[in-house]
Symmetry: C2
Subunit: 137 residues, 2 copies
């Protein structure tokens, strides 16, 4: 995750970037990645922690408004990739894993699901995150 | 989770409370529960969001310092209990689920693991959270 190219992100600033990912039957979700290599939230200072949460929750706001999920799941695990990142996942009552986490065996087959186009997601994220105060370097 | 008794929590303020939970082979972890009934982080205002993160990360700090886990996992899922709460889970390279999430089938048998006593956890949490600015009601 240290080598992610900001030019390929949906959104980025000097500290973090947002990329799109996919889970069959859930459609797209987003990952928010801290650009510098740190492992845990508590390796950041308090301003950085709040900034990263602000970005994660801007993504949540965009996904909730567009997709009307049953529930949002947000998580920073990183057991396999110990570089600080967040999953922001819209969940649906009939998705393959519901009501369990997406990190488990599915209960049912994936269904096609309407998603936002990458362009629409990018536009909405930029609209939301334009309002976010800049975190000094 | 609306009915949790603050008197039984490890720590509480007017907005949230911290309780201890257990996963075999991981030992204790903590849950941080928002006391008012809301479903998502984005149902809170920005000051409340930051306050809740501050409490979650105070718990992470205490658990990291005491247990030296391989990785911390923090997550707000709530698919089964749609009342805003966070899991703060210390993970170990040889715990039953590693490197997967704890919400899956185990890969190996649980091992006994040293944990903090409830009293020690309570004392350290209070020491950490004493420093946290109060969030106005």
């Amino acid at each position: 995750m240290c080598g992610l190219d900001p030019a390929e992100a949906l959104w980025f600033d000097a500290h973090c970037l947002v990329v799109r990912a996919e889970i069959p039957g859930i459609g797209h979700f987003c990952r928010v990645v801290w650009r510098a290599h740190v492992q845990e939230m508590t390796d950041l200072n308090r301003l950085e922690q709040h900034h990263l949460l602000d970005v994660v929750l801007a993504v949540e706001t965009v996904l909730r408004a567009a997709l009307r999920p049953t529930k949002m799941n947000i998580a920073s695990l990183g057991n396999q990739v110990p570089h600080l990142h967040w999953h922001v996942i819209p969940r649906f009552f009939d998705d393959p894993f519901f009501p369990d986490s997406v990190w488990t065996a599915p209960h049912r087959a994936p269904r096609g699901r309407e998603t936002l186009s990458e362009d629409a997601l990018r536009v909405r994220l930029h609209e939301m995150l334009r309002l976010l105060p800049k975190l000094p370097l």
